[in-house]
Symmetry: D2
Subunit: 341 residues, 4 copies
């Protein structure tokens, strides 16, 4: 059945499989000490225009959030996130399992507003009562957000400046970063992100890799003994080359960007198709995830012919669903969808 | 440079890469709900002669140990392991990071003796003082052990019976299980393990996969809400098919066993070679890891021409080193080693 | 300086000190195995009309919340609480430090409404997406609440029935339980609480003891190996008699109730006094904590002559402050306050 | 029945109860911000000859070990302790529950030898493999030890110098510190301990208080936001004065030392009594705990007439038991014991 269920319904970009196959019999040391990891790191630093950044490879998004946040916070600290943030809602309590609170603040279109964070910080530090409260220790945002929306460069800059004023590291979850960077409506570049964030990650799993996320520590702020911490979290791949080779391919000849752009092009056409057919959008999304409001019976009928994701209840008779494109979405997929709609 | 450093120096068995490539554009739901995971589970249940077993796929060994142990123990419990056990020494405190003590007992050739465990249990329950002590909640063994040694069927049966008498789950770490099952000197089969253990895993990463371990819960004892727990540990792959496809290939036409057997054949020749050249072995190992005692200057010289792993100090002038074979070790590798020795 | 800062500004009720002094040289076994703990448990069971309840003594409120919640929840579960709940806001992340999320829901006058909880549960179980979410595993309420308000018997019954339908233990934080039970406006008795809750505690620290809280497990639901768990949390007093003697005194001849009633009488007069003087109340409280809205300059002036607690900002020019009475509040204290106002 | 079961079988030194009673109606702020805590801290700093030390009060020994160790270690670190250490064996896994391993080393008469620790450190840092291992982050010793033995000043100095060389904080568990300081066979003073250790605690619970331990951070090394951390651990007493008053009394006119000396005098006579009657000692102890080897039938008979503690099995027919004296042991107790023996 035709599927727009997510951006991880297919395998990897063919060039990745080719590279894995081509290098398969080479003998390399384990745990990320191979030459492909080194090359990939170098290419990522270059793409970020951040020659001193430290790049580390992990396997998945929740794992990355858990490790980055869990190792950055002091015992008395929590992480600030939008109430819609992935770490708040959809990681099975991964952050809390490291002993830390997720301090949730209201969102605006899935985004955390600098003013919202500032008001929270002002209130927190306004009185002496905060000794019995979890202290803010990091700010977490996702870009694109869980609703596919994007921070503008101004918004990101405001958050970054606020964070630096309060000495709070700013962490950007880029599980779908490629789709954000290649959106037609963004003014934020990868070097911008590297300049404005203290740590962020470049998502591979949802942008053409079999698995893998590249964490970038931008300010000489990699946690001490990071390899031991990664090992302790059960996240250190013996065959680290699996990650190195994939990111080496993704950051060769701009592949990460071109496949992301393809997904955006497909998303724009999907958007246009739904709009033309008179569907309502839950939120205006400039990236590869599109959220449509369906009447429940209509949703039921449609789900017999095309796969998509249930997102959330809209009201008693309507539901928000998600259609996602990816590097592998094809013209044929869109034509088939049009026929169905 | 020629390398016998580990069994994870190369990529995956070529059939795995072929299958990943062949199925790459198929669209499948994420998080392990794909058809390849289902097929692989069915084949593993058949190979275990355990039609009711529950099979789950995780990414790596430490992650698997952490999740299996961390989700099995009650808050007041710890896990019994040999002092040489991987969970005791070489996982960066992964078990303790879940809040649980590793209760270490003396080993015999890397193995945990049933009598040793029984004496500990008798002492523990002998007096009332144990309310202030961590209670034993699981027994962890590795097979092959960290020194490449193997439990006999009698030894494993004795441990299993003891554990059942005390209602302690027996957990077998099979990171290198294939090499144990295909050893020339074992009387333990995969169905034996499934019958005697409460939970164990079939290692993929070190036996021909890019990554992946197949956990087998043999007695209707999968922890409740296991998917949420795996997600919380940051171990739930979005593209779960990556694990499903690999184990489907490994358990088709006995590939897991035949490539393990190849590694054993290579190890036997390597052993014979070292013995012929007059080298001393630290421990007699019937599996793919061989531990050699080298005089320190000799070690230094040898390390210029062939890669191997430092293991531990033997005495002031000697060191124990490890040479490992795998599915990808070739005749040429052995000939090159012979030339060097 | 005159103080209404809290209900823990003085020591213990004199009868407690007399009993500690009288029994001081008696030799008793440690860790709660003394005769006073036994007697106190028996008296508490009788007061609760719960002959089969299991009573345990702990030292303080946050410790009790942490242990009760942390030992009740499975790894994949969190605790539901009002967003104003003590465990949500004012325990320094104690719950999260046990690895569990506090799932916050909107409050009504500091209370958690059964309908609010039910809607959350319906939404949670409405779709399949909850495998990536923390599952609700317990409901936490405080009575009196953090704002001094009280559940009616109907409200408590509704919560209890909902919880039993969903097999969620209902936990009542009774840090100030005496003041709730003796309120002039309550229809909830201690036996009601024992019948409706799965676990609750009778606060001692804030109701006349030097320290100590009595946890009551009402349904044969004490966590297994509870002593080890308490020890592990660093909460097992060597001289457990300190808690036993205190609760024995508090539950002899109804002392717990009579001193609570005294505090309520004092609170009613304090309330009447503030009302008479034209002060505004932030919330109508029928217990020993009264929340007054002060203009900021007025607050500043008042704070020079009487101690009270800053509670929260009301608006740019006003602040909510708390005045509390206790067993030790005297006529003279009220007269002095009247003179100041 | 006559009891030598422990040093916490009676209440508090009478002067403590007098002071609690005398100050009972005074109104003081909570959470340790009262004047008695301040006075006690000042007196302890003076007794330690450590004017810049930071003193904090906690409730019990395991709680203190858990908080001091848990807040000092980085995520990748564990604490070194003797295999007989209280944190290793008898705290229900409290340290591991904070996520950290207890790295156990062999003991000598209950003590950790500097040479043993140094060899461990040399081995740990000898090779590159330690990235997969828990790093040593603190050294824990108890003085007196769990067997009543004492470090000499030379031994303590050697440990201290080693720790400073490796930048490992040295933490001394002084649950029974008074008995160590007043031993007839010690050359270690309280100022010595303050000079040689990075953090230690002065036990109250087992030396005449109802409860309470005074933690001394000697080198400007109190963990940041310590109050929040203590709150999070459920260890922040609302009526902090309970601890302040007690330590104020204990450190007024040398009471802590004089009552400890009394216990030592009683222990010396008890020792002499057992020796005279021909009993064997398990270990020579110069403090208030004496370990006697009893034939099992003899133990059984004796336990009918006097209470003592089972310690450990000696062999199939003998058991090690403990007799403890304290501030409250009387001449009459010893005479009664002599009559029984």
């Amino acid at each position: 059945m035709l599927s727009f269920e997510s951006d991880y319904i297919t395998g990897a970009h063919p060039k990745i499989l080719e590279a894995l196959t081509r290098t398969n019999l080479e003998q390399h040391p384990g745990y990320g000490a191979d030459v492909y990891c080194e090359r990939a790191k170098e290419k990522i630093r270059a793409a970020c225009q951040a020659p001193n950044a430290d790049v580390r490879f992990l396997v998945g998004g929740t794992q990355t959030n858990k490790i980055v946040i869990g190792t950055a916070l002091a015992g008395y600290e929590g992480v600030i996130a939008a109430e819609t943030g992935h770490v708040s809602l959809h990681e099975g309590g991964a952050i809390e399992s490291t002993g830390h609170k997720v301090i949730t603040l209201p969102h605006q279109n899935g985004k955390l507003n600098a003013a919202t964070v500032e008001q929270y910080l002002l209130d927190f530090y306004a009185d002496g009562a905060h000794e019995h409260m979890v202290a803010p220790g990091m700010v977490y945002i996702s870009h694109p957000t869980e609703y596919g929306t994007l921070y503008t460069k101004d918004e990101l800059t405001a958050l970054s400046q606020l964070c630096r004023r309060y000495e709070l590291p700013l962490f950007l979850d880029g599980a779908r970063l490629g789709y954000g960077l290649m959106s037609l409506q963004t003014d934020v570049t990868l070097p911008d992100i590297a300049a404005l964030c203290d740590v962020f990650y470049i998502g591979g799993t949802k942008v053409g890799a079999l698995c893998g996320e590249a964490v970038v520590f931008t300010r000489n702020n990699t946690p001490k003994n990071f390899i031991t911490l990664v090992k302790q979290h059960g996240a250190l791949l013996a065959k680290g080359r699996l990650l190195g080779v994939q990111f080496d391919v993704l950051f060769t000849d701009g592949l990460y960007f071109s496949i992301s752009r393809h997904a955006i092009d497909m998303a724009e056409r999907l958007k246009e198709l739904f709009a033309r057919k008179g569907y309502r959008f839950y939120m205006e999304s400039p990236t590869n995830q599109q959220f449509i409001i369906l009447e429940n019976a209509q949703m039921e009928a449609l789900s017999q012919r095309v796969a998509f994701s249930f997102w959330e209840k809209y009201d008693e008779t309507h539901t928000v669903v998600r259609f996602a494109t990816s590097w592998s979405t094809s013209e044929e997929d869109l034509q088939a969808l049009e026929a169905i709609l």
